[in-house]
Symmetry: C2
Subunit: 96 residues, 2 copies
């Protein structure tokens, strides 16, 4: 699960797709509009993100709409916080 | 930079090495002691982590000592926080 997530995140196009979805759900066409890549290429990236469970897809009428699935990203962040360790402490201190 | 970091993090052995280094600096031999992998294999993983700037290596006498470099991990976490978005807000609320 973590392996696939990190692998999916290692591509800048896929990271940009996730950032786009932060503002709201988008169709594959809308996503493709933000890139100078072919639709099959965008499709491939969306599929990798879907396999890694970083996005969810849902059919709405004629279209498939993609949304951000933050569950796995939260897991990844939990792991990073655990390794960085002092990062959490720093956060606490800034509120003192 | 981010691409290499995420790629390096996609391997469970490498993630475990980073967790080990959280508690303090270690030599390659000490790291290898935690795995049932060959030393060349551990060397390879350490090299990938070094290329991704997730670890630093320093010669101390006869030995090379590895330490965690949290700079890139902080960048990765910054990106994740930015995408998750509400994660940051949740953190703030828990202190109210």
């Amino acid at each position: 699960m973590m392996n696939e997530a990190f692998k999916a995140l290692s591509d800048p196009t896929r990271r940009k797709i996730l950032r786009l979805l932060r503002s709201g759900d988008l169709t594959a066409g809308e996503i493709a509009g933000h890139f100078s890549l072919t639709k099959p290429s965008i499709s491939h990236h969306l599929n990798v993100l879907k396999q890694a469970r970083l996005v969810l897809d849902e059919r709405r009428g004629q279209q498939i709409v993609y949304s951000l699935n933050t569950t796995v990203l939260q897991d990844v962040m939990g792991w990073l916080l655990d390794v960085i360790g002092s990062g959490e402490k720093k956060g606490d201190k800034s509120n003192e």
